[in-house]
């Protein structure tokens, strides 16, 4: 198989692969939104004045940080029902498997949001409004990590990019296509994540410049999880 052949193959399968990557993005978005919502509530509880609420929120956060998302994906895939009949109706709700992948990833997002937003909320309370906004670039960076992790949904049979690569290789029966197609898929992820990272770096740099220089802090724009003082 020569180079032109390879490219024409890749080109022919591009719409199919793009569809798969679209699913990666959707899975990640749903995970981020669901996880941020719940994490937000936890963060609010953590900065509240009731020690009991603070402790409860910390315990939940600790768990959501510790559950490995891949195992949890399997857990949900095996344990959640697929079709649920809404009581008293004939309506049947289906739980597609990608939602399960999203939910599993959302657990990690809950831990992240709880930790980082608690810091931001504390800053906001102290009147340090700009510092609180550093949560935004940090959140976006985490979203990219989730996009990377969404590829593991292929293990539970979600037809996203990685799993579609395997499908294509199976369908064509062409093992020489393996190297190019996996490289091509890497390119998808890279082309999506890199520009966003550059943008976020710029935003957080701008934010950092506007802030009064505070010593001893790493750039939150890229750190995965900031330690919470007093937590």
């Amino acid at each position: 198989m020569n180079l032109a052949d390879t490219f024409s193959h890749l080109w022919a399968w591009t719409p199919y692969l793009l569809g798969g990557f679209g699913l990666n993005i959707v899975i990640s978005l749903v995970a981020m939104l669901a996880g941020t919502g719940i994490g937000w509530i936890l963060a609010l509880l953590r900065v509240s004045r009731h020690p009991r609420q603070v402790r409860a929120a910390l315990v939940v956060t600790e768990f959501s940080r510790s559950i490995p998302t891949i195992v949890f994906q399997f857990y949900l895939a095996f344990m959640l029902p697929v079709e649920v009949q809404v009581p008293f109706t004939t309506l049947i709700l289906t739980f597609p498997v990608w939602i399960k992948a999203s939910l599993a990833l959302a657990v990690a997002v809950v831990g992240f949001t709880s930790d980082n937003l608690a810091v931001a909320l504390q800053e906001w309370k102290n009147g340090n409004h700009r510092a609180a906004f550093l949560f935004v670039p940090s959140w976006t960076s985490y979203a990219l990590i989730i996009v990377m992790a969404s590829s593991t949904a292929s293990i539970i049979g979600v037809s996203e990019l990685v799993s579609r690569c395997n499908t294509v290789i199976n369908a064509t029966g062409n093992t020489q296509l393996m190297l190019p197609i996996y490289l091509y898929a890497c390119l998808f992820f890279f082309a999506f994540c890199w520009p966003l990272t550059l943008l976020m770096k710029r935003i957080s740099a701008t934010l950092a410049r506007r802030l009064a220089p505070r010593q001893g802090e790493t750039d939150p724009g890229t750190s995965e999880r900031m330690p919470v003082t007093g937590g």
């Binding site: 768990f63 940080r65 510790s66 559950i67 490995p68 998302t69 891949i70 195992v71 949890f72 399997f74 857990y75 095996f78 344990m79 959640l80 029902p81 697929v82 079709e83 004939t90 049947i92 990377m148 992790a149 969404s150 590829s151 593991t152 292929s154 293990i155 049979g157 990019l161 990685v162 690569c165 395997n166 499908t167 294509v168 290789i169 199976n170 369908a171 029966g173 093992t175 393996m178 190297l179 996996y182 490289l183 898929a185 890497c186 992820f189 890279f190 994540c193 890199w194 990272t197 220089p213 010593q215 001893g216 802090e217 790493t218 750039d219 890229t222 750190s223 995965e224 999880r225 900031m226």
Partner: protein, 542 residues
């Protein structure tokens, strides 16, 4: 007189008993089926089929599923007057999907074994049959099964024969997720052969890609294939409908005709079955018919079930737990499962340690190189970090193991060990994050000391600033080691899914798995935090 009366009474009583039973002799009244109701309600029959098992189930050039079994599925839906939805399943998830209700029917090269009959309802009659053989490279010299003893053999997850043959021939099994990966592993020399159904392998041998490959061993463990439905549907009209349909397929020659249409080597099983099912009684009624209890006449049933359950080694406690609470914790009473689980645990722990060490090494080395005075070295290191962070490790694993691995094997005869590839990929991905944290910390140090440049000797100076972020990354890599299950490393997740596909004890095993992993992660977090504190205490105030 009295005795006559008594005889009459007895006769009457007998008649009374016999009367209601009489119609059941000819018409069996199956229970109504919830699933069939659901199928009719939604207007579609959802059938789990294979897409990686040509010509029984595969994807055509446009990616559309087709094959021998797909035709059968279509006929089932047509007879019900509903639409057909096909869901691709694999050997490891087809029964799961049936149990959880994702699919109504499994029609996916499913071997009819006694073990599986406990988990799902197998429809009789069987519609096909196959044996097990070994797909071997051209250079292989084995002629009998005995020659294969102790060899490293590839297999696919969820195949019923893995365990039996592993025990019989002491194989060192390497379990892959799908047939393609396993065959490539044979090609790359990662294993001596691929253990699989002879029907599928015969078809592979015809492909130009596998020219010269062979399946020299006589098929063993001949097993019939059955359509399966959920175990809740046992004895319902759904079971009866499919059973009658398969019987009709045998009688009408539909199966033989489809076999020919897909150019499958004619099987003795189908020919025999056709002869049996078309046989007539003297009065012209079919020889194979249902008994009053709904089961087919014994002569028309297949009794070649495997008895794979080992009754030895049961311990009192595991059985007691199973009997009193229904918790099928086979880990406790079955030595095979226990060893498999413990080996998985050991592999996972090894992976965790290697990945944490690897990530730290890659991160520190990368950061030092990125701070190098040589522009080229520094630029390359930074670029590598960006690429490392922006490509999903799972994808890179596939790329290295299958893309690069098959090339290496073809050109130089080198085969990459899967576990090393996993450690490498996860170390690069996490190492890039560690490196970024170190570089950011170095940047922060430069605020006070503009001449600062990260070097092997002064990594301690960034330790305090970077430690939180680095520790978080290392905890993440510990959580990510399960990715290894995707490339046949026998770690905990693989071990668990293998046990589930043998036993069907999903709930128990999944909870055991989650609990085990939570404990591992908690332990890793504690240990890393302790190490972090110890290092910081020594390093910050030297």
């Amino acid at each position: 007189m009295r005795s006559v009366l008594r005889t009459a009474c007895l006769a009457l009583a007998l008649l009374a008993c016999a009367l209601p039973a009489a119609p059941a002799e000819t018409i069996w009244q199956p229970a109504p089926s919830d699933r069939l109701k659901l199928v009719r309600q939604r207007g579609t029959l959802v059938v789990g089929v294979k897409t990686d098992y040509p010509p029984f189930g595969m994807l055509d050039a446009d990616g559309k599923p087709e094959g021998f079994e797909h035709d059968l599925a279509q006929d089932l839906a047509d007879r019900l007057g509903v639409k057909l939805t096909k869901v691709g399943v694999t050997g490891s998830n087809r029964l799961q999907k049936l149990q959880e209700g994702t699919i109504d029917v499994v029609l996916a090269t499913l071997g009819d074994t006694a073990e599986r009959r406990r988990i799902v309802t197998m429809i009789e009659p069987n519609y096909y049959s196959s044996g097990v053989t070994l797909f071997m490279p051209p250079r292989a010299s084995a002629k009998t099964w005995a020659d294969t003893r102790g060899l490293k053999v590839c297999a696919t997850q969820g195949s019923y024969f893995n365990r039996t043959l592993q025990q019989r021939y002491l194989f060192e099994l390497e379990i892959y997720n799908n047939a393609r990966d396993a065959k490539l592993a044979v090609k790359d020399g990662r294993c001596a052969g691929y253990l699989f159904d002879n029907t599928a392998l015969m078809n592979d041998l015809l492909q130009p890609e596998w020219q010269g490959y062979q399946a020299p061993l006589p098929p063993t463990l001949e097993t019939p294939w059955a359509i399966a439905i959920s175990d809740k549907e046992r004895g319902t009209e759904f079971e009866k409908f499919i059973g009658d349909t398969v019987a009709d397929w045998h009688r009408g020659g539909f199966l033989v005709e489809r076999e020919k249409a897909w150019r499958i080597t004619p099987s003795k099983f189908l020919a025999d079955a056709r002869a049996l099912w078309t046989r007539k009684e003297a009065d012209g009624s079919p020889y194979c018919r249902r008994a009053p209890d709904g089961a087919w006449r014994a002569e028309c049933r297949n009794k070649v079930f495997l008895t794979s359950t080992d009754v030895s080694g049961f311990t009192q406690f595991g059985l007691w737990l199973n009997e009193t609470t229904g918790l099928n914790l086979s880990l406790i009473y079955d030595p095979f499962d226990r060893v498999q689980f413990l080996l998985g645990l050991a592999t996972t722990l090894l992976l965790t340690v290697l990945c944490i060490a690897g990530s730290l090494a890659v991160g520190i080395a990368g950061a030092v190189l990125a701070e190098s005075r040589h522009r080229a070295v520094s630029g390359l290191a930074r670029l590598a970090a960006v690429v490392g962070r922006m490509t999903p490790p799972l994808l890179v694993m596939y790329l290295l193991l299958f893309g690069v691995g098959s090339m290496l094997a073809a050109r130089y005869g080198i085969s990459l060990p899967a576990i090393a590839v996993v450690v490498w990929c996860l170390s690069i991905y996490t190492g890039a994050a560690v490196m970024t944290a170190l570089l950011e910390a170095a940047e922060a140090v430069r605020h006070d000391d503009p001449a600062f440049r990260l070097h092997w000797s002064n990594v301690w100076r960034v330790a305090r600033l970077a430690s939180a972020s680095v520790t978080a990354s290392l905890i993440n890599v510990a959580k990510a080691t399960m990715m290894a299950s995707a490339v046949a490393v026998p770690e905990l997740l693989s071990a668990t899914t293998a046990i589930i596909s043998d036993r069907g004890n999903v709930g128990v095993m999944m909870n055991a798995l989650l609990l085990t992993f939570l404990l591992i992660v908690f332990a890793v977090v504690r240990l890393l935090r302790r190490a972090e504190r110890a290092i910081l205490a020594r390093v910050v105030r030297p």
